[in-house]
Amino acid sequence: MQRLKAIIVKEAWALLRDPRGRITLFVPPLIQLLLFSFAATLEVKNTDVGYLDLSSGVESVEILSRLEASGNFDEVRRLGSYDELQDAIDQQQIIAALVFDQQFDRSVLSSKPAAIGVVLDGRRINAAQIVSRYISEIASSVGMEAGPARTTGPPSITRSWFNPNLDFIWFNIPALACIIVSVSALSVTAQSVARERELGTFDQLMVSPLRVHEILIGKIIPPFLVAVLAGLVFVVAAPIYGVPFTGSILLFVLGLSFYALALGGFGMFVSSLSKTQQQAFLGSFVITVPIVLLSGFAAPIANMPDWLQPITYLIPARYFLEMSLGIFLKDMPLFDVLGLLWPLVLLSIATLGTSAWLFRARME
């Protein structure tokens, strides 16, 4: 115990006393929290749309007023002609334009299918697609209210469970808890052995009576605590962003702990393979990118090609992302959390075991 305590204390000091280390510990997660939660949004705000209304009836006005009221657009501009529409799109003054033809009002009133023409700026494809979705949602709701006697099919009403307003930040905060924890846990653990190898202190450790498992535990605990703290920052920050935390904080900490352990294992693996801090840095970069990309954060795993999907089973972020979203938004029950926990346990054992073996093997 004495030995274990000594190495944990030493590792913690090593983390805190290195001025550069202190900065890399605290600054990037905070910056990422701010940047990601505001910048990495899939909502479209602060853009303008235009409309060309040739029908001059009531229904088009209704749609436009709802469009304005949705708050997604700064301005809904009236356009006088097709030429004006073309100019406005060309010069990127508007991202989309709605065109109501002369028959529009009449068609709606006589319960015939009525169409709204939508012109989108394909150069801004992501935003345009989202705008298109907004427009069709609003149009269909108006259509349903206007024509309750419609004969064609049952009305479709979309309700988003767990995130009723489809507010992107509700997805972003729980997901970022997962991503940022992975970035900081990996970068801290990846340095730990490599740094000692480079500075020559690793030999000193290996000739001391410390056993390999003691070194491993001692090296993993401080970054583990850092990662858990970083994760909890998001729980604290959630109300500031208006994101609910519906689940159990205990389950969240449990999941976070094993996630941090698995990440520590990956970091330690990179670290024990590396001879210098530079190699470790590159190594952690090389594995951080796929962890983020294959976690399901950037793109749903189900959308990935079939051959790629099995690989995501090796990505710890995959499990914790699901857990974090689940616990934040839908009060994920214990049973489901456990189902996502055991792969993390296996990953931790595998990576930490390999690192322990590499400690010695890489001495040669």
Partner: protein, 575 residues
Amino acid sequence: MGETVASARDLVMRFDGAEDDALKGVALTVETGQITGLVGPDGAGKTTLIRILANLLSPTEGSVEVLGGEPGTNRFDLGYMPQRFGLYEDLSVIENLTLYARMRGLPKSEWDAVFARLLDFTDLARFKSRLGGKLSGGMKQKLGLACALVRTPRLLLLDEPSVGVDPVSRRELWGMIEQLVDEGIGVLWSTAYLDEAEQCEVVYLLNHGELLFSGNPSELTDEVTGRVAVVTGFEGRRRRLLTRMLDRDDVIDGTLQGRSIRLLFDRPAPSEPIVLDLDADSQMQSVPPRFEDGFINRLGGGPDGTSELARRYRTILGGDGCAIEAKGLTKRFGDFTAADNMDFVIPFGKIYGLLGPNGAGKSTTFKMLCGLLTPTEGSGAVAGHDLRTAGPEARRSLGYMAQKFSLYGDLSVRQNLNFFAGAYGLSRGEARDAIDSAIEVFGLGDSLSRSAGEMPLGYKQRLSLACAVMHQPPVLFLDEPTSGVDPVARREFWTHINGLVEKGVTVLVTTHFMEEAEYCDDISLIYRSQLIAQGTPDELKRRAQELSPGLQAPTMEDAFIALVEDRDAAVEKAA
């Protein structure tokens, strides 16, 4: 008198954030036709001074003139070889030369002739297509020198060219430089080896940024002429006698030399052993002083002989067993054998030296014995614990100190001490006692909250030793423990080690520092992965004298060279 190619006056160099100035008013002149030595321990300011001359740094104060102008004006006439010369490890010898020829703008028509001359000069022609990274330490230095010489300079700045180079290559390198000097080049040779200083015509001795001495080395040694004597033929343990002598007020320095003791007095050396209370059989003989004697004298003498560390150390009762045992230790990396069949037994209370050039296999052997490498064949034991089956027990009974400062530089002195006390599994009370005692013995009280990495070299070394012996181990592993430190710090270190050995501690030391070899009771000379000679320092010197009868009073270095050359000759004959 030669022509002046570099001069500096009142140089002061202050680095931002540093407590102490790196140079404190240094003056220097380099002339052609002679080797100017820039001598001093690590951290004395040698590299800073050379970098100023090479126009890589601007001094805070003072004036510099290089090749008749500001530094940097006549760049093509300046050759500079930094400590870690910028050789490209993935380029071959000839490619490295070509690269430097291009960089230094050597006309292509001259390439072949220049390369041929340099390869011949450095004896690297055979290795023309070998990759830079695959060369031995000595060959790398020679190639570095060749690259610095692609355009014959008028001033050649060499920053510690002999560091990490074995004695044989060192002599060759020195010979090459002398040849250059004869061709009319001004050479500034910086070194931490004081014995190299004696061979220079002019020496500038730096210590902590101060110019301690400048002039012909003999002027410094003259100050102590007649004050050095060697005691031989005494009864009893040499280390105990050395301690007794050093504790005398009139003895300011002393070292072991095999079975004899070399003493420096603060007055003319007495000629009768009786004056020193020595037994009647011992003899005293006055000997010529060395540069180091002069240096120590200038520094006010070395420490006393009694080690407070040793006084407080427990007595190791080794019994009949042996402290360290190597049985057929062999290490192979692929098809390369790094250490072949190492066999030796070290009894308790002895200092055992592993001596050999870089890359010869002494580090490999050393690392196998302290458990850092697993032997391919054979076995080793420390204090009776087999390294394979009882690794943790073996590790608990050893202390380890590496040449490179291997404590945690970002941690404070106290945090380092705490960590090692814990790592050795000392209980809370034991740890407190051990730490308090270390602080007292090594005078660390004032710097407990300082980061270990910021301390001066001498203090770092004390802290390293303090941490290595915190748990009072019966066996100490020292890997080139004092290279680069100033002679007083080195004396202090060996005073502790000698004291510990008297308490029964066993020391295994690797070194290519011949002075450290003299402290050993027994030495294994390792060369080309094999143990080529074993014996006491005196025995090895005697054997060297048998091999080359011309040698008068051979030094350890002479013995080393003679034995290695003999081995080479034997191998050649067999081939």
